[in-house]
Symmetry: C2
Subunit: 213 residues, 2 copies
């Protein structure tokens, strides 16, 4: 099966969300590529190409079975798999990400949170007690954890990343405000919230200047 | 003054973070463009060009004054401004974003949270009591709020966006898993956490397949 590129993954996710919302609000069982295309502002041909690449064939004048499209996207993107994950850094952001139930529906199963702050260790966050970070490597090995969510301060993030990868993690989802280097065989994704904020505030500032000229 | 593009904003932010960390750990007052370049994996010439575009001149063999670089970046990116912001959708994610103290240092001042869930209204999140969402428009007008953080369910996000923009918001930071259309004069930034998660899980899946072949 062909590999999906990032843009295709994002489109499939949009189709998936659109159908999930649509399914919840209509009695219909089918959806046409034109309907999907219109609502998410993508070309109709692109939608049909993407769905056809997943092996989905629509019926003329009826469209695609919504439940089938949804399940096929779930399987192809791996949402039906169950990935054991841990959070390192149980501050506000780490705690929120770690106890955000919606991620579970996408195959992410957070089974533990870790921190180095004695005031946080022992606290309940969501369904889990915060554990001391010096136990994280043993935990990863004992529980065969695959994924790590990093929400530690920027200046310790690379060091934590090195440790958890050495202990066996295959993927890192990084919320620390820094760039983490990982070996080639490790999946990594940075969510630079401060970068997003900076871009938005700057673009708001430019708008204000433009309007006052 | 020239407008900054997104890539430049992200580089300035990296310099800023690097210097903030560096300042905290050394006794030095100066930093060379080569040092910055080496640590964040950007070309030395690029660093000098970016800093020179901000009007900063380094001294030969000494480098740039760290405090001056930091302040100049803060002013240019607008971190020293104070933007009044509200959060709509006081679930786990909205609550975490709304009470995340680090954003304040970047000019974002969250002054209220709103939700439509009677079980959430009245709760304390961070320093604020969650207010009913039907008061959001009056609040925006009364307090001259400029920015909104949306963390409502995907299927209501566009509707909420329309209302808050009509009430006067100039910028939206969207954490709902959907794409929001806004008028041209409104700044918008989407943080598609589920999109990031999907990309990362897929890339981990592909790595596993590659290694097992």
């Amino acid at each position: 099966m062909e590999n999906l590129n990032k843009a295709t993954i994002q489109r499939l996710l949009l189709y998936y969300h659109y159908i999930s919302d649509h399914l919840a609000h209509t009695d219909g069982v089918s959806v046409s590529s034109a309907e999907i295309a219109r609502l998410i502002d993508v070309d109709d041909t692109q939608v049909r190409k993407d769905l056809s690449a997943l092996g989905l064939k629509g019926c003329p004048r009826v469209g695609f079975k919504m439940a089938e499209v949804k399940q096929t996207i779930r399987i192809r993107l791996g949402f039906n798999d169950c990935h054991k994950a841990i959070v390192v850094g149980a501050g506000k952001l780490g705690g929120a990400i770690g106890s955000y139930k919606e991620f579970f529906d996408y195959g992410l199963n957070v089974i533990a949170l870790f921190d180095n702050d004695p005031n946080k260790i022992g606290l309940m966050i969501g369904d889990h007690v915060v554990q001391p970070v010096d136990k994280v490597e043993t935990f990863i090995r004992d529980h065969d954890v695959q994924m790590g969510i990093l929400a530690v301060p920027a200046d310790t993030a690379q060091d934590v990343a090195r440790k958890v990868i050495q202990a066996g993690l295959k993927a890192l989802w990084v919320f620390s405000s820094t760039h983490i280097e990982v070996p080639e065989n490790i999946a990594v994704r940075h969510e630079h919230l401060l970068g997003g904020l900076a871009e938005m505030l700057y673009s708001m500032k430019m708008q204000t200047i433009k309007q006052s000229v």
